[in-house]
Amino acid sequence: MALAYLKYNGYEDGHYIFYADTGTAKFFRYVLGEKSIKLRVGDRDTIKVLSGNKKTSSLYKVNETLHGLTSLFPLRIPEHEITDRIKYIQLYSFNDAKNKAPTVSNILRLMLVKRHNSEFAGVTLTLETNKKSIAKDYNTMQNIQLKNKALSYREPPLSKVMFWNALVGALPNLLQQAAPILGGLLGNLNLGGTNNGQQTQQSADITNKIVEVLQAISNMSQNVQQSGTQSLQHLNSTYNIKPETLLGLQPVLEKILTPEAIEAIGDDSQKLYMAIKDAVLLTEGRETSLNAVPISKSSSKSIKSDFSKAKVAPALLAALPALMPVIEKALNPELIEAVGNQPVKLFKAIGDAVLKMDEQEIKHLEAINPGVDSADDISKLLQGMSVSRSLYQEDIITYNLVKELNLNCIGTKTVFFKNKNRVLYTKNRQILLPFSITTNKGERLNKKIPRSIIQILIKDPKTSKLVFRKTIKLVDIDISQDIQEAFITTKESQGIPCNTEYKLEISYIWKSKSGKNIGVLKNQYIHFIKDVIYDRIGDRIGDTIPFNNISVHRKFWHKIWAGGYSNSPRWEVAFDIQYILALSTKESGIAKMETRTLKISDNIEESTQHPKRRRIHSRLKSGFELSFKAINSILQLLNQEQLDGELLGALKHSDAKKSFSLSARYRAEMKGREGDTSTLWCYPEFVLRKLHMYKVEITNDYGQVISMAPQEYIIAMPEAIHFIGTKSER
């Protein structure tokens, strides 16, 4: 029987090799073409043939001596014959040299596919053909552990960035409300030191800068309001903003934060808000005059901060939006109206409302007044306030802040890291935290304190959650000298996570004449690190690498949906898909997450009978979870150097996993007839990127890192997702 069969079998010595079979036919030729068309044959049947610009080979006679038990023979086509324009190949077989009884094979599509070589220095071209069946080979990538797990990730209702952007848009309103409140409450804390001509000039400069910022933001906000996009609720009262009142916070901030800490805060409004809140908690109703302190002062050497006050003002402006959600959440508009133009009353109303809440009340508040869709951010703020309050009341040694004295950290060194100068401590040695006590004018006091305590607290800067606490009891401390007794041992620091920013709070506490606890404190933002520390993921290297080999990359192929519909002659389904890529630092392999669907509409619900065309619209959510160990395996698969255990440890305890929080959205539409089934597959494309780390070079006697060397490695990251829809063949 005559036959025409063609199958691609690889590339060899400048030729593409196919297997051909002509059955009993003795002659054949092959055709290379650009297009494929259907020709009607008889009344019903059609055949596919090549058309358009095509190249037809000479007529060849089959070499029968090569035939063994089968009529299959290799067909070698020179490489130069298959150009970019050639897309198809087809085999014709004939019974004789006069083209009698022609038979045509299926058309094979020829695709020049980029294939990465092992060095990633370039690509080689090879051919792929169509109509192939996908083999399953589970023997590859066995070193990656694969799990199936529940879909445990979600995006917050409104991203934090959008949340803060929305609040910044309302800044003029906020400033009108909040600045007089805070200024009125805290302005009286603005102590001496303003008589100096230079400082007065500096203060005037700051004021002018703030006025400029306010005017610029006010103009921007008016434009936004005119365009009708401003949606935040505005309070009815209006205040005449006095920029000077903003500076009322400055002495408080400088009293509780080191200059390095203020710089580390930068424009992180949430962090600065928490710092301001700490200041309010410590000073509200607790200010202690120096007159009440049993200390006789005498002038000694002066320690003068060279930190520019101008750095405080922009950060302060950035922090104020954090008050807006609290005002909106905690108070109803009627109460705000009743408070009227009394800033201190309003501030106290807010404070009373928030600080008295327990966790359930906070949740209830969020539930009944969703308002801005940022419950999680607000929850953090509110919980931070209540946690901190409870800590001060129950677990932590409480004391009244001595306004006239300062605690000054000594020998603080910063290292430029993550775009800021930061204070880093090594975990490899004991950490010393020396400090001095001075007056606001920088003078030392000649005084011995018989019994005192150093309290060291390390907290999460945004939630105020306590991660470390230590008290050191001291006897007969001469505060005219530096106090060197504060320290954290190597064993103690082991329990504190690495590569995460924390707020270090050092308090020096003693008894007043009346027997009450009084003291001073300073906050510092610090990181604990070991030998290497994660910096960032940088530029990409080369093209994306599709994990499209269903054999090699089998574990990365994810069937997220399979199904079909019966009882209707035809069906159509539309999925709004969200596919999540995440990274787990707890797992060591990869995991395919379950698929969840939520039906939006289904026309079967509109009638009692099955419709002729069933239409279903659903949301579909699924995802894939990676781990750093799995990424190491991927690097190995891509012939890249793997990351060693130290690097993996540093990455695991860093915020690098945030770079692996990714999502792809796509609307997939599929249709079929009754009995047809369809599937939805996903597979990723990875890309290699530069991984920037730092290695500790030099540490000082205090345990501070004073020099780090940048290091560069390569890491693999997911870059894109392929959504593939398939349907059963009829």
């Binding site: 796509y666 369809s678 870059e719």
Partner: protein, 49 residues
């Protein structure tokens, strides 16, 4: 047997219809490549919302 799926994301669905590529015995209808975008994710302990 071939195991590698070419990038079909730029190919018209009609072309795929005419010259089907099979996965698990089913023919591919479409291949859409979507770039992953950074998002903020939070993990729920119990795995369910």
């Amino acid at each position: 047997m071939e195991n590698k799926i070419p990038d079909l994301s730029k190919m018209a669905s009609t072309t795929l219809e005419m010259d089907p590529i099979l996965i698990d015995g089913q023919k591919i209808l479409f291949d859409k490549k979507v770039t992953l975008m950074p998002v903020t994710l939070e993990e729920k302990e119990n795995g369910y919302e």
